[in-house]
């Protein structure tokens, strides 16, 4: 039951993008088309889940044992960067289809703050390994949900009349703000 609560809470109530404001850069950067947004969401799901597991193990086996919790940020970044590179190489060799589907988004998310945010929050919330996996998966599904929703809205911008001063990013930011308010409606769900 607790796992289910974590899942629902990270997807809707504490959505990493519209409630915790992490990963805003890809949220605005690759949300012009639903197609690219889907590719990005898939890549994020893949990397967030995998990196959460590895950072969890490294934190509890090495950092916590030596009392080096303050190295968390830099070590996690190192882990994520190396992991993304490694995953890219493995995918290129073993599964060209998946590699092509994820495309440029895989290396792009090395510096996505959702990845680091989820890894750090997993430790802060004192989740065990199973809860960590569920939380990471939920976080990336929530990220994908927000990204695909806004990309669907932004596709419509192409054919409607927008005041000249608001064209491009201003209207995207306003939309993102309104989406965030809408997501606040989930408060109290869990």
């Amino acid at each position: 039951m607790r796992l289910f609560t974590i899942l629902i809470s990270t997807i809707f109530v504490n959505n990493y993008v519209v409630a915790r404001f992490l990963g805003i850069c890809p949220f605005l950067g690759v949300s012009n088309k639903t197609e690219t947004a889907t590719g990005m969401s898939l890549a994020v799901t893949f990397v967030v889940t995998l990196s959460s597991i590895i950072t969890y193990i490294i934190h509890h086996l090495i950092l916590a044992n030596l009392g080096l919790e303050y190295l968390q940020t830099i070590v996690f970044i190192l882990v994520i960067a190396a992991l993304v590179q490694f995953v890219e190489m493995v995918l290129k060799k073993t599964s060209p289809t998946l590699y092509n589907a994820l495309g440029v988004y895989l290396p792009l998310i090395t510096t996505n703050c959702v990845v680091l945010g989820v890894a750090i929050l997993n430790i802060q919330e004192k989740y065990n390994l199973l809860e960590t996996i569920v939380n990471a998966f939920g976080a990336s599904v929530g990220f994908g949900l927000a990204l695909i929703l806004i990309s669907a809205i932004r596709e419509q911008f192409e054919i409607i009349d927008i005041p000249e001063a608001l064209e491009g990013f201003p209207i995207a930011l306003i939309t993102a703000g309104l989406m965030s308010i809408a997501f606040l409606g989930f408060n109290g769900l869990v």
Partner: protein, 270 residues
């Protein structure tokens, strides 16, 4: 001392470990790339327009190198690029038929009737949502210029409410073809002077009521063509461009002038 020693060992150790495993992985998981693909990639225009149907110029270069795509698959580069790629692949004497996008509608403001007055957003896709656009003919050009907006080569102009493609500027990137909600833009060989500029599948009587320059399906062109280049389907005449000799007889005989011929124009122009 250990206060500074452990962080250095842990961080340095992790860094070394990751670095070593990455360099090992790059050896183990190395993917062989076709050297021909790189050369072909250099020869391609590099616009990543996607007109060939492959994901960007890299995708096409790989496909050509693997033999999955013909050497003349790049329509933007045309003959010069096809020749270069043919050299790289060791194939010679490939013919490239230059194609241009053509709007198959001539129903401008004077010739086609409207069923309502459209005052909305100037975008064909938006107009098309509203009962299929303002033109009485459901196969007609809506004239809002969405194709003109997507054209990166300034090849499209709106003349009297109908889009017209400049044959010499068009590189056949197919962007307008994809964006047109009416699907009335098609690729036609550049050398072809005679085109049936109508897509209406309505019966002749309906076409006559809607537009004075539509194909009414009288089959006069089919009967008069000396080389049997016409096919007739769904009340609409169609030219087989491979058979057509550009004699212009069909355009002369066509009672509504739905068959467009630029034969006379080029004589005047010279």
């Amino acid at each position: 001392m250990s206060g500074i020693l452990y962080p250095i060992i842990v961080l340095g150790g992790l860094g070394l470990l990751f670095g070593a495993s990455l360099s090992l992985a790059s050896k183990v998981f190395a993917v062989e790339t076709n050297p021909k693909a790189d050369e072909i990639r250099q020869a391609l225009p590099g616009a990543n327009c996607g007109a060939c149907g492959f994901p960007g110029c890299d995708g096409l270069a790989n496909a050509i190198a693997e033999g999955e795509a013909p050497v003349n698959a790049c329509s933007v580069g045309g003959k010069p690029v096809a020749d270069k790629i043919a050299d790289i692949m060791g194939i010679s004497g490939v013919e490239v038929v230059r194609q241009v996008a053509t709007v198959l509608c001539q129903g401008d403001c004077n010739k086609a009737k409207n069923k309502y007055v459209y005052n909305g957003i100037m975008d064909c896709r938006a107009q098309n949502i509203l009962a299929g656009g303002s033109k009485s003919c459901s196969y007609g050009c809506l004239g809002c210029g969405t194709c003109k907006d997507v054209c990166e080569f300034d090849a499209i102009e709106i003349v009297d409410g109908v889009a017209v493609v400049d044959k010499d500027k068009c590189v056949a990137c197919k962007k307008c073809i994809d964006v047109c909600p009416k699907k009335i833009i098609e690729l036609v060989p550049y050398d072809n002077q005679v085109v049936v500029k109508c897509k209406s599948k309505d019966p002749g009587k309906v076409v006559r009521g809607n537009c004075s320059i539509g194909c009414i399906g009288c089959k006069i062109c089919v009967k008069n063509c000396p080389v049997d280049a016409f096919t007739f389907e769904d009340n609409l005449a169609k030219i087989n461009y491979e058979k057509c000799t550009n004699c212009g007889i069909c355009a002369e005989k066509c009672p509504t002038k739905a068959i467009f011929s630029s034969l006379g124009e080029s004589k005047v122009a010279v």
